[in-house]
Each structure stands twice: as structure tokens, then as C-alpha cells.
Amino acid sequence: MKVKTPYRTAGLAIASCLALTACMSSGADSDSGEDGTGPIKIGISLPLTGDFSEPGKGVQRGYEAWADYVNENGGLLGRDVELTILDDQSNADRVAADYEKLINSDGVDLVFGPFSTRLVVPAAQVAQDYGFLFVEPAGAAEEVFTQGFDNLFYAAPAIADDHYNYLADAIEAMPEDQRPKTAAYAAMDDPFAMGTAYGLKTRLEEMGVETVVDEVYPPNTTDFGSIAAKIADSDADVVVGGTQYQDAVNMIVALQQLGYQPTMAAFSTAPTNPEFPEAIGEETEGILSPTGYTPEADFPTNKEFVDFYTEQNGTPPAEDEANAWTTGQVVAAAVEAVGCADPDPECQAQLIDWLRENEVDTVVGPLTWDAEGRPQGAHLIQQYVDGEIRIVLPEEAKEADLIVEKPEW
């Protein structure tokens, strides 16, 4: 018995490891509306639990605020809007089933997209099968636009690859001898995060900036010491992180711990998060980040949005909330212009065609799209200046001057 037990128990330990990777589940809720001519019913599935629950809830707040705002201001085509939001648990299989259910059994009039590239693609496929217009708030990765969808529109200023465009332009505009010579890239193995870093990498390489480190790490990486060691050892002039929140914070601290001082440091997502300076402390000065939204932007509808949202929620909206609101604005513009909002393929086709040919004013600026649904804009570049995150690029929108040489962190 003594000899056999370890075998059995070791097997059990493995089984439990596997059970864990198979992930956990929790309850889902759903509710459905009745078909009718009353309110315009809009079906949405969002990751309210699981990996993307934080941004998913942000998108939910944005959608709900938009619906409340529309209903308080006379509705859409004179009808109230009513949201049906399902929880897909951040699961790509569930999100497809959710949209099937929304369109087939709940009989919604319109659909809005979910959060994250990984959920947008399967959801858009279902919408395409039923001929529905599909405007989505969060599918920035290039692969969203290469699936052949002709019903999809991304309601944000730019796709991931273009996020750093203004920064790349600014570097290109420098005299050649002042440009950085070497760059290190570290990106999470995620279509969005990698897209942002590699978009900048392509541009910098074209300018002759040598790539000295190019690391991709899995999303569940807990230790950034080794990646930081590689970057520090290369002593690159520029460090570019294709990051989400926790990996950016951990990587920056790991780089600081190794005494590495780049002349330019750019990380996607994390620096625009209000928690970021709390986590990093005073060493944020000069850190760059692209952003699709700022409450301070003076686009025509933005002030109404910020005021309405702030009054309702107590805090100003962040990027996820803004993208959700933008989605609502884009669909509403099409509905008002075409004059219909029902699941009939003809109405949906008209909505799609209208968006192909027209520009929509939104809280993130005027949006137009190419044939695959890519928005034709660019992200703002923000930087920590005197402890505050300010817009530094492009020139016409800047709130502070770009710090070219990053202070020591």
C-alpha cells in the first residue's frame, strides 16, 4: 500500500491540475422580452464573469447609460430602447449561442457587439448568418477584419496596429541623429496586445530602428524578472510593451528593479488606467500610452456624455464605457437615417449600407470605415507629465508637450 499510494495520489494531483485548467463555471442569468411594436429591443452578450469581466462590466455600464440617455431624450424613432444583456462568461462558445438565442428566440430588433476580439469574432459570425448589422465596441485586433465580415463596424478611432501611429510619426519627424537606435518589444500573446506593439515595431523598423529584443509571453505569466533581464541586458533606447494591465505593471517594476533606464517607454492599456499611478508610484513620469478616449476631448457630443455618465455613476467614463456609448451612437445614427429598426434582412442591409457610406459623429470623434469595418482614425498618445496623464500627440489635440527624453524611473 505504501508503494502504490504515491502513484495514485500523483495521478490525482495531475487530474486536479487538469481539472483546474479546464476552468471554473458559475451561474448565468438571462431574461427575454416579448416581440412587439413597442420598444426597440437590442440584444447584447457580454463577459460579465470570467477573464474579461472587468472590461465587460465597463461596456455594460456604457450601454446602459446610453440606453437611459436615449430614453430620456425621446427614444429612437420615437420608441424607447430596451437592452437584453446576457452573460457569456468570457466563453467563445457561449457568446455564439447567446446571439443565436437573442436573434432567434428573443426576437431582438438590433444587436450590439460584446467585449474582446476573442468574443467578437464568433459573435459577428452569428450576426452575419442572420444578416444583422454588427457594430462592436472592442475588437481592435487585425484578425477581426480579415474574416470576411461585411456587416461589422468597429466603433473606436483605430485598430490595434494603428494605435501608436502618432508616436511613430513624431519619431519619424525627429532629426535622424536624434532618433532612437534600438528598441525592445515585449507583448502578451493576445491579438490586441501584440497588434499594438507590432504596429509600432513595423514603423520603427522601417525607420531603421534596430529590434534587439522581441518577446511574446503567455497571458498567465506571473514572473517578469527574466523578460526584464533580457530587455535590460539589451540596453535598448526604446522599450515597447504590448500589454494589458497587470503584466505592464509587473514588467515596469521588474525593469526598474534591474536598473534599466530607457530613453522612451511605451505601454498599451495600463498607463491610462486610474489604478496605474497608484501601483507604480512616482516613477510614472514620461511613460507613453495610446488611448482611444479621453473625457476631456471636445468632440460635439462628448460633454453631454461625460456629464450624463458622471451624474449617473459618480465617476467620469473610461475607454470601455466610451466605446460602448460610441457603439450606441453609431447604430442610432444609422437607424435614424434609414428610418427602420427591425430584424428584417432588408432593414438590416440598409443600415449596413448606410454606415458604409457615411460619417458618424461620436464621443471619440467622427468615424468612417473601410470595407472590412476598420475605422479610419488614429489613437491619441498620452504621457505622464508632472504626475498627470496628458495628451501629447497629435499636435492639434495636445494638452502638454511631449517629453522626448524620459526621466529616470
Binding site: K2, V3, T5, P6, Y7, R8, T9, A10, L12, A13, I14, A15, S16, C17, A19, L20, T21, C23, M24, S26, D51, S53, E54, D189, E215, V216, Y217, P218, N220, T221, T222, D223, G225, S226, I227, A229, K230, A232, D233, Y245, Q246, V249, N250, V253, A254, Q256, Q257, L258, G259, E275, E278, A279, I280, G281, E283, W409
Partner: protein, 292 residues
Amino acid sequence: MSLFVQSLVLGILLGGLYALLAAGLTLYFGVMRVVMIAHSAFLILAAYLAWWFTDQTGLDPLLSLLVTVPLFFGMGVFMQRALISRLRPATLTMMSVLLTFSIALVIEGTLGFVFSGTQRRIRLDYGGANFEIAGANVAVVKLIAFGLAVVSLAALFLLMKKTQFGQALRATIQHPEAARLIGINTERVAGYGFGLGLATAAIGGTALALDSTFYPSLHWHWIGPLMAIIVVGGLGSIPGAAIAAMVLGMGQALLQIPLGTTWAQTFFYIALFATLMVRPQGFFGGRLAQRF
């Protein structure tokens, strides 16, 4: 060359942390044949308590150990007496997986409810502080975590070897019936053993919180590698877990240089499969593990 030295130093520090995080797991298994899936959830709980303590008082998170270590010890004793000891011995190992899986979910849910899913980090004045030894930078927080690991593992080892309680615990591990025959209250000893394991989770979680961000579901990222460490080291052997943690931590840091992060992480699972094929009882397991 300097990258190699730097990676080696990082690997040693990482290995120490892994050893501390895995120690409790191997202890539960050694004492009671309990596969404790919730161990990493308790690590995250301790991290949150350390963060909350610092947030509320402004004091160093290490001081929270004065509260969390006894608290976790008490919780461990309670958990063993109230829940684990009620499982039928014949199916104990299997059922403990289910039981502790549910405990992990409860902890995760509670943390999310109380502290929200927002990522937290303890900001320390010395968070980025470092000094140089032989061309390698050593981060102060990583060194503190390593120090905590060395001190707690040494204390645990001495406790097992030199005290009467340790003797009773080892007797319970080796042969519960015989231990009972010579008058050891094996039930109580098992409870204390479980408490000790959980007390290491309090220290490990605090060490973890010094140097990284955490959020309620982070424990699922940790349980896999920690299980791999104790299987490679030999279930039930604390020195085995420490050595395996050190080897795997250094392996991960060094393989990172030529192979990149994804493959360096896969190293854990390759080591796990290789161990199960070649020596399923682990490299320090089997009879050796029974004796510590």
C-alpha cells in the same frame, strides 16, 4: 555573460519563492493525503489581507504577518477538524480535491465581492530598490521574499525534526495506527499539521504581494505550477519541494534566454510528465518522503 549571471540570480530568488509557496501543499499531502486545491486561493487571500492592512494603516505589509500567520493557522486547524476530518478515509484524497476546489471558489468569490475584481498592488517605497552583486542586480523585495522563504522553511524543518510535536506529526505521517497506539492524539496532530501548512500560505501570499499585482482569480495561474513542483519533488517531502522549486525556478529563468517565455513556462509541465514517466513517486518521494 552578464545576462546569464542576472538570470541565475533571478532564478535562485524565484526558486525560493516557489519553495515557500509550495511547502504547504506538500505538508497537507504528507500529513493527511489531502490534495489541497485551495492553497493558492489562500495565498491570494493573504496577499489581499497584506494589501488591506497596508492600505488601512500605512504600515509595512510584513507587519500583517503578526496577524495573518496565527489567523491562518487557526483557520487551518478549523478547516481540518470541521471539514476534512469528516471525509471518509477510503475516498479522502479524491474527495479532498472536490472539497478544496469549492473552498477555492468561495474564497475567490468573496474576494471579488469584498475588494472587486480590480487588480491590486502594494506600493512600497523600496518596490524598485535594488543593489548590484557581481554584475547582477538584486531587487530588495525579491530578496525579502527569498529571506522569508528561507526562514520559514528552516523553521518548519526544525519544528519537524527537533520538537516533540514534530515527532508526533512525523509519526502520524509514517503510520497513523501505530502513532495512535503509542498515545499520540493523531486527530489533533493532523489539525495542527494542516494549520502549519496554511500558516506558510500566509507568509507566501505576503511575499507574493510584495512584488506583483494580484486579483481574485489569480490563484488558478498558480495552482498548476505549484502542483507540478510537489509532484516533481515528491509528494509529502518538504526538502523535496524546496529542491524541486529551486531547480524548476532556475530552469525557467535560464531557459528563458534561448527559448523565450512560452517554452520556459512549458518546462514545468515537461518536468512533470517526465517525472511521472520515470519516477512517479517524485525525485524525493516514496519512502524517503515518509520520513522527511
